[in-house]
């Protein structure tokens, strides 16, 4: 029994390394975040934005998924800046500075470039799986 356990564990370890190295097949020069996106990520964390918002459908359900808010909303940067800075009736005012707001937008830009959150129906295959390479 212990031998089988060890074999399974070794498979798990190999799979884990493969996941770390190859889970994102895109060109790293495209996917790397810049300093503003990284700073925006910290703003996102510090204010616990994931409690209410989702990225790729993961997070809280109080507010909308923000994965593609930059490319989908059709709103200007100014609109987003005002929205984030002052909040709404449902979203509290986090008293963010202008640079924090801009960094947060840079972070959302970077997320937006990573892919689409919604899977179009055309991507569903006959085996009920997805095919993103179509």
């Amino acid at each position: 029994m212990f031998r089988m356990w060890i074999i399974l564990f070794l498979l798990f370890a190999s799979y884990t390394i493969a996941v770390y190295r190859n889970c994102d097949e895109k060109d790293v020069t495209v996917t790397n975040p810049d300093v503003h996106a990284l700073a925006g990520w910290k703003v996102w964390q510090r204010n616990n934005c994931q409690s209410c918002h989702q990225i790729y459908g993961l997070g809280g359900y109080m507010g909308p998924d923000l994965t593609n808010v930059i490319s989908d909303s059709g709103k200007s940067k100014q609109y987003l800046q005002t929205f984030i800075k002052y909040g709404t009736g449902k979203m509290p005012d986090f008293h963010l500075s202008d640079s924090e707001v801009n960094n947060l937008i840079a972070f959302l830009h970077w997320i937006d470039k990573s892919g689409r959150s919604k899977v179009p129906i055309e991507r569903v295959t006959s085996t009920w799986n997805y095919n993103f390479s179509k």
């Binding site: 029994m1 770390y20 895109k26 790293v28 510090r46 990573s114 959150s117």
Partner: protein, 442 residues
């Protein structure tokens, strides 16, 4: 050691109470944000609720493990006792520090671990103390070990691995691509659930051995097969969290294939219904046994949901909706909490208490089951409505998508009152017994 273990048992039950209270208030904050944003906003309540639930389950699982291993893995040395006490005190102090940060609105981690990452250090140290105490004792026990010992060991080991993995985002290389960061994060989160499930299911198996007096339940090829199947799912079946993430397709394929082995669990459960009925007639007077049966029912219900969500074509509709919440809450309340309450019922010898108390607990038990059923169904309905608006109708305005969902959320919040009333009476009763019971007895 006994004093610290008693503290952990009481602490875990206090966390259950906190989960229920914060959960109910958070549901109100979700429904009426304009009011609650001024007092206690949702983004502050949610981490309080989620962390309370997480720590109730992990603390309850470890308290049960530490208590029952006394009888299963003898002997305990003085060194073991010190290491176990170190785990308990460091663990509880870390939780207090985390809640203090939430109270002061100091956040900083990732989903479900939303506290400043520095607090992961004492948590990690505490788990290393538990790991050393447990395994140093285990290697001294010779001979064939029952399956619940394998399950406890797997849980302790994999919690350590996944906790470290959950913190890998702090190394810059993991943050260089968002898809890697999110994949690793959900790989760790998904497997961590499997880790605590191993600890809790191990306790459930131990309890069934003790209640029935039949040691064969925890031995043999079939039990071993299902343990290995569960372990395989723990290791490879986490991809359904990130099916929609456009990363490497082999991660999705692996998870999809492995998740289909869950049908084996489902078929096994259906096959076992007849024998369960006979068993039920024999033990139904025991409250501990009733909690285990409730957990089995919820395993069945949530397995149906899990299998559906593991099929990418269905996951396309369920992902990012309240169906995911139904699954998360259905498993943590219906399975994890029911088994932990069974464990505490057996540990505190509740089945030997006064008839009046047992009747009261029996009433609370049924109120909890009916409330949970309505609670779970409300979330499924909310999820279906959201999926209809967001995926089938392809609506883009979030407020419009959520408008028809809100009545289901109101029903969910109402059912939460039933859960709070029933489970808090049970928790408070158990806290009273835990404070005075003879901890050295079993």
């Amino acid at each position: 050691m006994y004093r610290s273990l008693r503290l952990l048992i009481i602490g875990s039950l206090v966390l259950l109470l906190a989960t229920l209270i914060f959960g109910l208030i958070a549901s109100w904050a979700f429904l009426y944000p304009e009011t609650y944003n001024k007092i206690l906003p949702f983004y502050q309540l949610r981490p309080f609720h989620v962390s309370s639930a997480l720590f109730w389950i992990i603390s309850g699982a470890t308290a049960s493990l530490l208590y029952y291993k006394k009888g299963a893995i003898e002997p305990t040395s003085k060194w073991n006792a010190i290491a176990e006490a170190t785990f308990i005190y460091l663990w509880l102090l870390s939780i207090i520090a985390i809640f203090t940060c939430y109270g002061l609105k100091i956040f900083g981690g990732r989903e479900y671990w939303e506290f400043p990452p520095i607090l992961c250090i004492p948590m990690l140290l505490s788990w290393i103390a538990l790991f050393l105490a447990y395994f140093s004792q285990l290697i001294r026990k010779a001979g064939e070990k029952p399956m619940y010992v394998w399950m406890w060991s797997t849980g302790v080991l994999f919690f350590l691995i996944t906790f470290i993995e959950q913190n890998l985002w702090q190394i810059p290389w993991f943050r260089y691509t968002y898809l890697r960061e999110i994949t690793v994060q959900w790989k760790a989160n998904g497997s961590m659930v499997g880790a605590w499930n191993q600890m809790i299911y191990g306790t459930s198996l131990f309890l069934m051995v003790k209640i029935s007096g039949d040691e064969r339940i925890a031995k043999g090829k079939i039990v071993f097969f299902f343990y290995m199947l569960g372990l395989t799912n723990l290791m490879f079946n986490w991809g359904h969290h990130i099916y929609n993430v456009p990363g490497a397709s082999w991660i999705r394929d692996t998870s999809y294939i492995i998740s289909m082995t869950e049908w084996v669990f489902l078929i096994r459960m259906i096959q076992g219904f007849k024998s369960k009925l006979d068993e039920r007639k024999k033990f139904r007077h025991l409250i501990a046994y009733r909690f285990i049966i409730a957990a089995e029912f919820w395993v069945f219900m949530n397995l149906l949901l899990a299998i559906a969500m593991s099929i990418p074509a269905i996951n396309r509709y369920t992902h990012g909706t309240h169906i995911t919440v139904a699954h998360a809450m259905g498993t943590t309340i219906g399975i994890n909490s029911m088994i932990l309450l069974a464990s505490y019922t057996y540990m505190l010898d509740i089945d030997s208490t006064k008839v009046g108390i047992r009747r009261m607990l029996g009433g609370c038990y049924w109120l909890a089951q009916y409330s949970l059923m309505a609670f779970w169904l409300s979330l499924v309905v909310a999820g279906v409505i959201k999926a209809y608006g967001a995926t089938i109708m392809e609506m883009t305005n979030f407020q419009e998508i959520m408008k028809p969902v809100l009545p289901a959320i109101k029903a969910f919040s109402l059912c939460g009152i039933g859960l709070l009333c029933s489970l808090s009476v049970i928790a408070v009763t158990y806290i009273r017994y835990a404070a005075t019971f003879d901890i050295k007895k079993k």
